[in-house]
């Protein structure tokens, strides 16, 4: 028999009797005791005790708000227990706080909510700041992901910006469809067999395209011609007149090698920027741009280019019909603004060397139309003041040589260089 344990028990009991406890009931029905000075650190509990006389015994335990789960209560008690001690330095408190908020986001959210319902302002501030830090630097998509929030804003509410993301599942769907289409084309090539379905689809897209050209008002066109799609990754929409469209059609090229390429942001939505107007913000994420230089064969007649062209028209039904793959959702079409990068295309337009593919495009175009298109191409070239074929020859022969800068002559002598201030940009 050892008396000292009895003594220490006795001492402990005495200590216990000297402390006061507050009785608290959590949402699961469980009731527990919390040291008074700790519990009273929470204004809500304080209020219940003082104003309503609750908490002094098991029978009148203070019921905590629903947002305070037992786990959260435990955390909050830890917090209060630490901070209610008067003698601590600011440094100590800060250090404790920093460690205290290190927890996963879900718990942090729960804790913030619990602290708020107990009106424990210092803890609300601490957890709110931590949540703010999580939010900072993230995109809306990332924030939605972290906190499982719905994506329910309409265009109008965003001040008419349009999203630009390559992560959108609809874009991924389109990408998959295009990739599938390219694969099919490639197989067709190998078989040298005209697949009736393919042809049909091709013709349809060309016909639709042509109807635009013939009947259109010169507006921008949106089309997903397989041929135009064939090679490229996404490009930007081209702003074109029918002339430009036909120009591009003629020179469209189906290089099989390029069929393999990933079409990352092929169906990327237009960038949203209504928000950007209100910010110091710099650009938003545009579609990724994998710049690849490919060796190209000599350009013969015209520069190849190969892109879908897009229209701004709200009635993007045309887009649906132009889309060669029937699987594509109509709703998808109308809500998407397709953004196709012309980067490689333009690269072809401007690059010294270009490559033609094996497919004979001319087979697919009505000869009479082809003649008309050829004429239009010449007109287009003339209008742009560029000696297109000659210029390409020049580029080919010069290669990497630097060509003299071509400066426009205009009336205000701006060529001279110095304005009244230093002419260099700052």
């Amino acid at each position: 028999m050892r008396n000292y344990s009895k003594d220490s028990n006795h001492a402990a009991i005495c200590c216990q009797m000297m402390k006061s406890y507050i009785w608290i009931q959590t949402t699961d029905g469980a009731i527990q005791q919390v040291e008074q000075e700790v519990a009273m650190f929470c204004p809500m509990i304080c209020q219940e005790v003082i104003q309503k006389g609750m908490g002094s015994s098991k029978n009148c335990a203070i019921s905590l708000p629903q947002r305070v789960s037992p786990a959260m209560l435990s955390l909050i008690i830890d917090y209060c227990r630490f901070h209610q001690v008067a003698g601590r330095s600011n440094k100590e408190r800060k250090s404790f706080d920093e460690k205290f908020v290190r927890m996963d986001t879900k718990r942090l959210c729960e804790l913030t909510s619990a602290a708020d319902s107990l009106q424990l302002k210092p803890l609300v501030d601490l957890t709110s700041r931590a949540l703010a830090r999580i939010i900072e630097g993230k995109t809306p998509e990332e924030i939605r992901e972290i906190f499982h929030l719905p994506d329910d804003l309409t265009e109008e509410e965003k001040l008419e910006p349009l999203k630009n993301t390559t992560d959108d599942p609809r874009i991924r769907l389109l990408n998959r469809l295009y990739a599938k289409k390219r694969k099919e084309l490639k197989e067709r090539e190998k078989l040298k067999d005209v697949d009736a379905e393919e042809e049909h689809v091709d013709d349809r897209s060309v016909d639709d395209l042509l109807s635009f050209i013939n009947g259109g008002d010169g507006g921008m066109l949106k089309c997903c011609s397989t041929r135009l799609l064939g090679s490229r990754k996404s490009g930007q929409e081209i702003l074109c007149s029918p002339m430009i469209v036909s120009f591009l059609l003629v020179v469209s090229d189906l290089d099989d090698n390029k069929c393999e390429e990933e079409c990352e942001s092929l169906a990327g939505l237009k960038p949203y920027w209504g928000q950007e107007i209100f910010s110091d913000s710099k650009g938003i994420k545009t579609s990724k741009n994998k710049k690849k230089h490919k060796k190209r064969k000599d350009l013969q007649k015209c520069a190849p280019s190969n892109e879908a062209i897009e229209t701004h028209k709200k009635e993007s039904n045309a887009a649906s019909s132009l889309c060669h793959n029937a699987e594509v959702d109509h709703e998808l079409q109308s809500s998407l603004g397709e953004k196709l990068k012309l980067q490689d295309v333009a690269g072809e337009i401007f690059a010294p060397t270009v490559e033609f593919d094996d497919v004979d495009i001319d087979d697919e175009i009505d000869p009479a139309l082809k003649e008309e298109i050829d004429r239009e191409v010449e007109d287009f070239a003339r209008i742009l003041n560029s000696d297109w074929p000659e210029r390409m020859q020049e580029l080919l022969s010069l290669g990497q040589e630097r060509r003299p800068a071509h400066l426009s002559v205009n009336g205000n002598g701006a060529l001279k260089g110095h304005a009244s201030m230093p002419s260099f940009p700052l």
Binding site: P150, T286, L342, L407, F424
Partner: protein, 584 residues
């Protein structure tokens, strides 16, 4: 896909948002979902509109009912080089009028490159009872009458900053309009004023405002009176002196040195017009604590400069004339290890002669010796690819690199090659580069490098560079974060612009002057891109009097949800569907 329950405690969202003040973050928050959009817009206090024509004031007011602070920018950056003709626009009055009715509790207005009339200032003075901060940066159109109205009526004004504005100042008496009971001023910048202000009013004002931390005087405040002001405000953190010369008199000197010694909090010095070197040692007592030193107007020769700067080991920001020379920059590289920003301005930009020994070597020294260097603006007369490559390798953490070789199209002076490789190295190594200005002889190659590597680039300034549309195309298609692009005297035409038309909607603005963009292309762009304002600026007269293929003089394209503006002068035309009809 299983949808987890919304775990964010929305009841505290507003509180959480009170800790999120950065514009980009607020924008991201507002796009998360409907409820966040609503909560965010009701508690947004501060807004920045980078282009005053991108949105109408009514739209801002409708969306953000509780604003306290508005910042607006007007003219494009190239207005600083007189490339934007007078009268182009940027008049702030419509904004002020709308804000006055909508936000009686507005506290702060910050404007840059805008035309501000006295009437606007009077409206500000009368409409906002708790008005606190007015910043007019590079603005014009107002006089000291407008300032007098602000002084007389804004009882709680904390900041009045006129940096680099053009002020018509017939009267120096406007300062006296601050009532004797007015004591809340914390920041006053009148450095741009030409005429004298009433010194006694200034002295009394400085003496009765205990929170005054920033005081930037104008040229007209004489040096021998500076000590009085300093003794009245020993709590100053930022000081801009007036003219820094007087006859060297021992008592004036010791008085001044004593006054500076008393300013223990001083961290930033500027001003220093017309320096008499004999008085420089008066500032030595504060040099060790200085973090910012602006000597861009100081005609101090090399030796005195070096002596001064060598006393400032804590310097983070230094603006200086090229009198510093290579040797001075070496000294800085050895002494100022905390330097983050360096700007070297030309003392004689229009002279053909090279009057100072400032070459590429100076910049190389600084890039080598200053590990925290982030921002560079450097005017010089010669550069080499090798130097740029070295700088790029020394300092891969730069965010702003602006090199201005004074002679357009100057090649690498040793190899006579274009500077493509040098700038290429800069963009390749400095992955966080946000702002870049090019100069010297440059081909399309440099733009290829920029398009390939400068993925975080936000602002690019180009002059006398490139060979063809390919150059512009590289930039527009490659620089994903591009926000502002300004180009002058480059052979860029229609093709790159039309092909990359959609990109323009992702940028704030594009300026092209003395390039090869045809009127036809402008019309096409304007017609087909309703969310862009395509402004043709041409002082030769209406563009339809010339052939469609004729290049326009100047082109300013910016995204907007406000539609075409209606305050254009006679030499500006906005291309849209209507105007196209008018022109055809």
């Amino acid at each position: 896909m299983l949808r987890k329950a919304n775990s964010f405690p929305e009841e505290v969202l507003e509180h959480v948002l009170s800790f999120i003040t950065n514009d980009k973050d607020r924008n991201a928050v507002s796009l998360v979902c409907k409820s966040w959009y609503e909560i965010e817009r009701w508690c947004r206090k501060r807004i920045f509109v980078g282009n005053c024509y991108a949105v109408r004031p009514e739209m801002v007011i409708r969306r953000f009912p509780e604003l306290r602070s508005v910042e607006l920018k007007g003219k494009p950056h190239f207005a600083d080089f007189n490339l934007v003709p007078d009268g182009w626009g940027g008049c702030v009055y419509p904004w002020i009028a709308s804000l006055a009715t909508a936000y009686p509790w507005l506290e702060e207005i910050r404007l840059k490159r805008m035309v501000v009339s006295d009437e606007s200032l009077k409206v500000i003075a009368k409409s906002f009872k708790n008005f606190k901060v007015l910043v007019l940066s590079s603005c014009e159109g107002f006089s000291t009458d407008g300032l007098a109205a602000v002084a007389a009526n804004c009882r709680n004004l904390r900041g009045l900053d006129l940096r680099e504005s053009e002020v018509d100042d017939p009267s120096g008496q406007w300062l006296s309009r601050f009532p004797d009971s007015f004591t809340s001023l914390a920041s006053l910048n009148i450095s741009c004023l030409g005429a004298e202000v009433s010194f006694s009013a200034l002295e009394r004002l400085v003496g009765r405002c205990p929170d005054l931390k920033t005081l930037r005087l104008n040229h007209a405040v004489p040096l021998d009176k500076l000590a009085n002001l300093l003794r009245g405000a020993p709590q100053l953190v930022e000081l801009g002196t007036g003219a820094y010369s007087a006859e060297l008199q021992p008592d004036v000197f010791s008085n001044l040195a004593g006054a500076f010694s008393g300013c223990k909090e001083l961290r930033s010095l500027s001003g220093f017009w017309n320096v008499f070197p004999g008085y420089l040692p008066a500032v030595y007592p504060v040099c060790s604590g200085l973090t910012s030193l602006n000597l861009r107007y100081a005609n101090i020769q090399g030796a005195d400069l070096i002596k001064l700067v060598s006393q400032c080991p804590s310097l983070q920001r230094l603006w200086v004339l090229d009198y510093i020379e290579d040797i001075g920059l070496e000294a800085i590289a050895a002494c100022c290890k905390d330097l983050t920003e360096l700007r070297v301005f030309p003392s004689n930009p229009y002279g053909a002669e090279n009057n100072v020994s400032l070459t590429e070597r100076g910049l190389v020294s600084v890039s080598d010796g200053c590990p925290k260097l982030q921002s560079v603006l450097y005017f010089c007369r010669q550069m080499t690819n090798a130097a740029l490559v070295t700088i790029a390798k020394n300092r891969p953490s730069m965010t702003c690199f602006r090199l201005c070789i004074i002679e357009p199209r100057a090649p690498d002076y040793q190899t006579l090659q274009p500077l493509d490789l040098g700038f290429g190295a800069i963009v390749e190594n400095n992955k966080d580069l946000r702002r870049l200005s090019l100069s010297g002889l440059l081909t399309d190659r440099v733009f290829e490098y920029i398009g390939t590597y400068a993925k975080k680039l936000e602002m690019l300034s180009v002059a006398f560079a490139g060979d063809s549309d390919l150059g512009l195309h590289h930039v527009l298609s490659g620089c994903e974060k591009l926000c502002k692009l300004e180009i002058r005297d480059c052979p860029f035409g229609d093709k790159a612009l039309l092909v990359n038309a959609a990109k323009l909607e992702t940028m704030r603005s594009l300026w092209m002057s003395s390039c090869s963009v045809s009127f036809r292309a402008c019309k096409l762009l304007g017609q087909k891109m309703p969310r862009l304002n395509v402004e043709v600026i041409d002082e030769r007269g209406p563009p339809d009097l010339r052939p469609e293929s004729c290049p326009v003089e100047k082109l300013y394209i910016y995204r907007t949800i406000a539609g075409p503006r209606f305050d254009m002068p006679g030499f500006v035309w906005t291309m849209d569907e209507d105007s196209v009809l008018r022109f055809s």
